[in-house]
Amino acid sequence: MQRRQFLGLLGATAATAVLGKPAQAGPKHFTGYPDSYGVLFDATRCIGCRRCEAGCNRVNHLPAPARPFDDLSVLDTKRRTDGRTFTVVNRYETAKGIVYRKNQCQHCLEPACASSCFVAAYDKTPQGAVTWNEKVCVGCRYCMIACPFDIPTFEYWDPLAPKIMKCHLCYPHITAGKLRVPGCVGACPTEALVYGRRADLIREARQRFHLFPGRYLDHIYGEHEMGGTNWLYISGVPFSQIGLREDLGVTPAPEFTSGALAAVPIIAAAWPALLLGIYAISQAKDKAARQEKREALKEALAKAKAECDAELAKVKAKAEADKKAAIEREVKKALEEAAKAQAAKEEGE
C-alpha cells in the first residue's frame, strides 16, 4: 500500500519533472497515516540519565555496551547510533546551559530510506513505525546515503550476513502485545518521552507551549521537517544547538528523486523514436549517395565502354589494315620469289 502511495506521488509530480523543478505538492500530497503513533521528546525534561538507552538495549536484546549504561562519562563524547545501538543520548552545551537530546530513527512520514531501497526492504507501517526487513536486504547501504538524519547503521564486521540496524519504534514488540509503549519510553523516569497518536502529541506540545510561557521555542521539530516525522521534539534552545539540522526543509525525501524517475518512461518512449528517425535519415542519405554513386558509375562505365569500343574499332581497323598489308607483302614476296625462281630456272637451262 505504501509503495502505491509513492507511485501515486510520482504520477502527480511527473509533469514538473524532467528538468527537476521542485515538485509541487499537489492535492495528492501525503500527510501521513491518520492515527499513526509516535513519540514526543521534551528536551527541557531530559536529564541525560541514559535509562532510555538501557531500556532499548534490553527489549531488543542488543549486545551489552563496552561501558555500562549508568556510566555517564560516556556523555563526554558525541556519539551516534551504530550496529549495536538503536538510540543514543548526547549532551550539548548551549546558551541556556546543558541540554540533553536523545537520537534515533525519526520515523519519517515519507521516509528517504524506504524510497531509496531498491529491494523495498523498508516499510512505513500505518501505525507509524518504519521497519526494515532482513530477508531481502542486499546490503548496498543506499538507505544510509539517503537518510537525512544519518540513522540506519550497518554491521560492517559481519562478513556474510551484515544487517542494517535502526530503531523500529518497538513495532514488533507492540504488535505482538509484548509491550504497550516502546522500550525507551517505558524506561524514562522524567516523562521526557511520551508515546501516543501523532496528532495528540502535536496537541500536547502546543499545550505545553501554552502552559509554560517562555520555556519553549514555538516550534515542534518533526511536524514539517522532511515532510514530517512520527518522532517529534520540543526544546527551549534552537534545535541546531542540540544536533538537529534546521536546514533540511519540509520537502519529503521521495520528491527529490521523483522528477528523475518520472523521466524514465519519457526517455524509454521518446528515445527509440528519435534514434530510429535519425537512423532513417542517415539511411536515406546513404541511399541517395549510393544511388548517385551507382548512376555515376554507370555513366562512367558507359563512357568507358564507348571509348573502349571506339579504340577497339580503331585497333581492329588498324589490325585489319596491317593484316592486309602483311598479306599483300607476303603475296608480293611470294610472287617475287616465284619470279626469281623462274628466272634462275631459265638461266640454268
Partner: protein, 416 residues
C-alpha cells in the same frame, strides 16, 4: 594484408617468456587481490575498508561503479555514431569500444560483489523484491539489461573466432535493434547514477548538488565515452599494433579526429550547462570557498581546457594534442565523480568523521582494473577486434553494395 597477424604468434611468444615485467607486476597485483578477497569475505567490510556509518559508500562506489560506468560509455557512443548516425567511417572503432564497454560493465558488477553486504542477493531487486521507487533500482535494472546487450553486441567477434558463421550472421542482423536499446539503457543509467545523489541535498555540497545532476552525468558520459575511445585506441595502438589490420590502421587517425571534434562540442555544451546550473541555484558565492576552488579547477582545468585542446587539435589535425585532451577529459570525469560521491559528499561532517580509503580498498580497485586489462588483452590478441576477420569482411559491405558482391573470398585466403 593483415590476415597473417591473426591469432598464432602471441601465444607462442607468451609461452616463450612468462617472466616479463608486465606478467610479474600483474601477477603480484592479482595475488594481493586474492588475499584481500579472502579477508573481505572472512573479516567483513570492516576488515578491509574504512567505511563507517557516516560514510557508507567509499572508493569502491566512487571509482569502481561511478567512474567505471562513465568510462565504459565508449560502447554506446561509438555504436550509436556508427550504426544510428550512419557514420560508417567509424566502423573500425566499434569493436574495441564494445569490448571495452562490456568488460567495463562486467567489472562493475564484479566489483559490487566486494562492496555490498550480501552479494548473492544482487539479483533480488530484479527478480525477487523490486523497489521501483528507488533510483538505485533503475540503475541496477539498466546495468543488468545493458550488460546483456553488450554481451550480445560482442558475440559476433567470438562467433567469428569460433567460425560459427550462421549464428554470427544472426547476431549481426540484430545490430541496429541492440544499438538503439543500448543507447536508451545508457541514457537512463548514466543519468540515474547522478540522480542517486538527488535524495541527499543535505549531504552533498551545493556546488555539486543540482537538480540537473542526471543531465550532467549523462552529457559528461558522452565526453567520457569519446575520450576513452581515443585514449584506449592510443594505448592499443602502442601495445597491440600487430593485431591491427590495414583498414583499422588507415582509419585510426580519422576516427580520432572525428571523435575529438565530437568531444569538443560535447564538452562545450557541458561547460555551459554547468554554468547554467550554477546560475539557477545562485551558488556563485561558494566559488570563493575551498570547495569553490575545487569546483573551478574541475570546470576550468578539466572541462574548458580539454575542450579547447580538442578544438585546436582538430583544427590543426594534431593528434598529439588530441590524445592529451583525451587523457585530461578522462581524469576530469574521475575527478567529477569523486567530487560528487566523495570529496563534496558529507562536506558538513567534521574532518575527523570524513572518509579516506584504506590501502586495501585502493588495492582491490587496482586488482579489479588489472583483471580487466588481462581479459582485454586475452580477447584482443585472439579475436577479431582490431581487424576484420577475412571470412567476414565482405559481409560488412553487403549493405552498401547489395548485388555486386555475391562472391566471397575463399576461406583459404586467411593467411595468404
Amino acid at each position: 594484408m593483415s590476415g597473417e597477424h591473426a591469432p598464432s604468434t602471441p601465444v607462442a611468444a607468451e609461452r616463450a617468456s612468462l617472466l616479463t615485467p608486465f606478467n610479474i607486476v600483474t601477477g603480484l597485483i592479482v595475488f594481493v587481490g586474492l588475499i584481500l578477497t579472502i579477508l573481505r569475505f572472512t573479516k567483513g567490510l570492516a576488515g578491509v575498508t574504512n567505511l563507517s556509518d557516516n560514510n557508507p559508500w567509499g572508493i569502491w562506489i566512487s571509482f569502481d561503479l561511478l567512474c567505471g560506468v562513465a568510462l565504459a560509455a565508449g560502447g554506446y557512443t561509438t555504436s550509436a555514431a556508427c550504426y544510428v548516425f550512419g557514420l560508417k567511417r567509424y566502423h573500425s572503432a566499434v569493436r574495441p569500444a564494445i569490448l571495452t564497454a562490456f568488460l567495463g560493465y562486467a567489472l562493475v558488477v564484479f566489483a559490487l560483489h566486494y562492496d555490498v553486504g550480501r552479494p548473492w542477493r544482487l539479483p533480488y531487486p530484479i527478480f525477487y523484491s523490486p523497489g521501483p521507487t528507488s533510483v538505485l533500482f533503475e540503475v541496477g535494472l539498466c546495468v543488468f539489461l545493458y550488460l546483456n546487450v553488450l554481451f550480445l553486441e560482442w558475440t559476433p567477434s567470438a562467433l567469428e573466432w569460433l567460425g560459427l558463421k550462421k549464428w554470427r550472421n544472426v547476431m549481426v542482423k540484430m545490430t541496429l535493434a541492440l544499438t538503439i536499446f543500448g543507447v536508451v539503457l545508457s541514457t537512463m543509467h548514466q543519468s540515474s547514477l547522478g540522480a542517486l545523489f538527488l535524495i541527499a541535498p543535505s549531504k552533498l555540497h551545493p556546488l555539486w548538488y543540482s537538480s540537473y545532476l542526471p543531465v550532467f552525468f549523462f552529457i559528461s558520459s558522452i565526453a567520457a565515452g569519446l575520450s576513452m575511445v581515443i585514449f584506449e585506441g592510443t594505448l592499443s595502438h602502442r601495445y597491440l599494433h600487430d593485431k591491427m589490420d590495414d583498414h583499422y590502421l588507415s582509419t585510426h587517425d580519422q576516427v580520432h579526429l572525428g571523435f575529438a571534434r565530437g568531444a569538443a562540442v560535447v564538452l562545450v555544451i557541458y561547460f555551459f550547462l554547468k554554468l547554467v546550473g550554477l546560475a539557477l541555484d545562485n551558488n556563485w558565492h561558494y566559488l570563493l570557498t575551498g570547495y569553490g576552488a575545487m569546483y573551478s579547477l574541475e570546470l576550468l582545468g578539466f572541462v574548458a581546457l580539454p575542450a579547447l585542446m580538442y578544438a585546436v587539435g582538430v583544427r590543426e589535425k594534431n593528434l598529439k594534442i588530441i590524445r592529451w585532451a583525451a587523457v585530461i577529459t578522462v581524469l576530469g570525469i574521475v575527478l567529477n565523480r569523486f567530487n560528487v560521491s566523495w570529496f563534496a559528499f558529507n562536506w558538513q561532517l567534521p574532518a575527523a568523521e570524513r572518509y579516506f580509503p584504506s590501502w586495501m580498498e585502493v588495492a582491490v580497485s587496482i586488482y579489479i582494473v588489472t583483471v580487466g586489462l588481462l581479459v582485454f588483452r586475452f580477447i584482443a590478441t585472439r579475436m577479431p577486434i582490431f581487424y576484420e576477420h577475412p571470412d567476414f569482411k565482405e559481409a560488412e559491405l553487403e549493405e552498401e553494395e547489395p548485388h555486386e558482391h555475391e562472391t566471397r573470398p575463399h576461406p583459404q585466403s586467411f593467411g595468404h
